[in-house]
């Protein structure tokens, strides 16, 4: 059978020390940030905080030193990321760049692109947006219509991307678009690196169900791109975007989005041994403990140079279910207690964010399709 393996990772003393160091830093740095703000998880934006992390060497950790990185393993990075998320640190500014754009540029970029961009990502001063989805192209990404037309001096980009997280703060967007005639459904696509300060780009906010602004609509109206805006090979966009999604899907951000609520719940809940809700809590902790080891195992496989696509999809599917169950468990456990104002604010924040957990980064149904393919059913 084709079930993936999840070999357990063990932690070295150096890794344990790294964890302690990050934790001590965060205890200090976040001491004034209330739980309701920490509950934003990886949508909390603070450029100063990101720069601070960069100075400490905790961004671009897996990038080579020559590009401003730190030559650390994917497991070391995983440990730092886990601590950031568990503490509810405001990581949104650098999140996409550090998680997926940097590895994409390292793998497919030109030497020039690597030298100019990667050190800034590692410093926490260069932010990215993901330009995949469009109004009529969500799960079915291959139906994307945004197009970069080749000209004598580069490309002309036209089209509209939707749901682009933090496009309004990003320095660059990596836009998935058509560059050629499609000989097949997945052919004729490329990725282009778009400098967001170029003329012809308009970014307009789209508010979420809580009235928050994080994602956007981004229109490109005859945006002139230089020839070196091409990222990777022309026509290879589909394969590139799929490997980018593997980075996007594998991390602890896929099961820790509601961790601040777990903490708040434990703070407010008065122990009542024997009560039915006690076993809800126990089961929640059990799921979290196993998810942590599964996700860490995926990091270990990445560190060994493997591409654990199926394993990552499995962790993301289980992780999203967990994140979404947390507010429901909290409701059952704290029957009448919404009286603590901080708890109530955290609860509402997570409740209203929860639907997105199984949409962003590939929907539940798409992930299950990937798993089914891995099982040989498709």
């Amino acid at each position: 059978m084709a079930l993936p393996t999840f070999p357990l990772e063990t932690t070295t003393p150096a890794q344990a020390a790294l964890r302690d160091e990050v934790r001590a830093f965060l205890a200090e740095a976040l001491s004034d940030l209330p739980a309701r703000e920490r509950a934003r998880s990886w949508t909390g934006f603070d450029a100063g905080f990101s720069r601070n992390l960069g100075e400490r060497g905790w961004l671009g950790m897996t990038l080579p030193k020559e590009y401003g990185g730190h030559d650390r393993s994917a497991v070391d990075r995983h440990i730092v990321v886990e601590e950031l998320l568990a503490a509810g640190a405001p990581v949104a500014a650098h999140w996409i760049a550090d998680r997926q754009s940097a590895p994409l540029i390292l793998r497919h970029g030109t030497e020039e692109q690597r030298r100019t961009i990667l050190p800034r990502i590692a410093a926490g001063t260069c932010f990215f947006g993901i330009g995949m989805s469009e109004a009529n192209s969500g799960s079915d990404l291959a139906s994307a219509r945004t197009r970069a037309e080749k000209t004598a001096d580069g490309y002309v980009l036209n089209g509209t991307k939707l749901w682009t997280t933090y496009a309004h703060k990003a320095h660059y967007m990596i836009v998935f678009c058509r560059t050629g005639q499609a000989e097949s459904r997945y052919g004729g696509f490329s990725q282009v690196l778009v400098d967001m300060s170029l003329p012809g780009i308009s970014v307009s906010p789209v508010l979420d169900i809580a009235g928050e602004h994080h994602f956007n609509e981004v229109s490109f109206d005859n945006v002139l791109l230089p020839p070196d805006a091409l990222l990777g090979k022309e026509g290879d966009g589909w394969a590139q975007v799929m490997s980018e999604l593997a980075f996007e899907r594998s991390g602890p951000d896929r099961f820790l989005s509601s961790f601040v609520l777990v903490d708040e719940l434990l703070r407010c809940h008065k122990r009542m041994p024997g009560a039915a809700e006690t076993s809800d809590l126990g089961r929640m902790v059990a799921r979290l403990m196993v998810l942590r080891q599964m996700s860490l195992s995926v990091a270990g496989r990445l560190a060994r140079g493997e591409q654990p696509v199926l394993a990552a999809a499995i962790v993301k599917d289980l992780g999203a279910l967990f994140e979404q169950d947390v507010p429901e468990i909290a409701r059952r456990v704290l029957r009448e207690n919404a009286s603590d104002p901080e708890y109530a604010a955290v609860f509402r924040r997570i409740l209203l964010a929860a639907p997105s957990f199984s949409l962003r980064g590939g929907t539940r149904e798409i992930l299950r399709g990937i798993i089914a393919r891995g099982l040989g059913l498709r």
Partner: protein, 334 residues
């Protein structure tokens, strides 16, 4: 990374147990397992074992469960491990641990002896019993595996003790069920995949329907989680001596709970995708699902372990749950 011993143990157990499941206790198969050294695998060489790692020693248990083989293999493995901790020496199997009181003893009537456990002020007391056949009150679990109650025994003073908390020992015993569940769930997933690739309705194999694909995908996620849970518990058991009960107990509790949750989901999906044939006695699915329904509540019910873990999470000091979780991570042994 897995050792060559591990692959060898796996291969030997697969050869031994494949196709031998479904029946009751089989003395010939027990002898073969003994000959392979499985029941003593946790003992060090000086105690008459092979000095296997816990992962290697539990591998035959997982395979036996996947094959629905009814043998007190894990029971004998653990009874010998406890006995050696207490300096009692090697015990001929089959033998099982049992808490004094009225709890049902796995495979009771087939056991050569029982290691009777009692809670002491500090540690657990052990006494060896050789109950006569007529003292067993026969019973079974949902899968028809013997779960016999020992009647009318006089309380015996402990002959030996292990310096281990009773809850830690309960967690050790629950780890056996966790490993068994992981093995059986993987076998269930395997059976479902094969069936859905073969069985056709509406002119296509069932596995071509998206609704079925998604059910099988969910089953796969649970199987992976259960396997990781079992690996976690076994690895924490391995480091009991170095990392201590503080790491082992919550890890084993979480593992048992997670495997139990997976067992419930796996059995439900498996019966659904199999249709009526899976509900028939002739088809081997129930050999696994009925075991899963039993094991999830044996050696500590799901609710008991859930309560334990909830209590553990809530009694963590000031810094909260997270540091307690990371403190359970496995340390690399030098």
């Amino acid at each position: 990374m897995d050792s060559s011993t591990y692959s060898m143990v796996l291969e030997t157990s697969e050869k031994l147990f494949a196709g031998r499941g479904g029946g009751g206790f089989d003395p010939a198969l027990w002898s073969a397992a003994e000959e392979a050294g499985f029941p003593l695998a946790l003992l060090s060489e000086e105690h008459g074992g092979f000095g296997f790692s816990a992962r290697e020693a539990f591998a035959p248990v997982r395979v036996a469960a996947a094959c629905a083989v009814a043998l007190p293999l894990g029971e004998t493995l653990l009874a010998n491990w406890v006995a050696s901790q207490a300096g009692l020496g090697m015990l001929d199997g089959p033998v099982a641990l049992a808490w004094s009181g009225v709890e049902a003893v796995p495979f009771g009537r087939h056991l050569r002896r029982v290691v009777c456990l009692s809670e002491l002020d500090r540690g657990v007391g052990l006494s060896l019993l050789h109950p006569a056949a007529e003292l067993w009150h026969p019973g079974t679990n949902h899968a028809g595996e013997e779960r016999d109650v020992l009647i009318a025994i006089e309380p015996v003073a402990p002959q030996a003790r292990v310096a281990m908390s009773p809850v830690a020992l309960r967690a050790v015993m629950s780890t056996l069920r966790t490993v068994q569940m992981a093995g059986a769930i993987e076998a269930v997933a395997d059976m479902c995949l094969r069936y859905c690739n073969e069985r056709e309705q509406f002119g296509r194999p069932l596995g071509k329907f998206q609704a079925i694909q998604h059910q099988l995908a969910i089953l796969a996620t649970h199987s992976c989680a259960a396997t990781v849970a079992a690996d976690m518990a076994v690895a924490a058991f391995e480091t009991l001596a170095t990392q201590g009960e503080e790491v082992f107990i919550p890890t084993a509790a979480a593992a048992k709970l997670r495997a139990a949750e997976a067992a419930t989901a796996a059995a439900s999906i498996a019966h659904q995708v199999h249709g009526a044939i899976g509900f028939s006695e002739e088809y081997p699915l129930h050999l696994l699902t009925r075991r899963l329904w039993s094991w999830r509540d044996e050696d500590g019910s799901e609710s008991q372990w859930a309560e334990y873990l909830a209590n553990w999470a809530q009694t963590q000091p000031e810094r909260g749950l997270w540091p307690a979780l990371t403190a359970c991570d496995l340390a690399k042994v030098a």
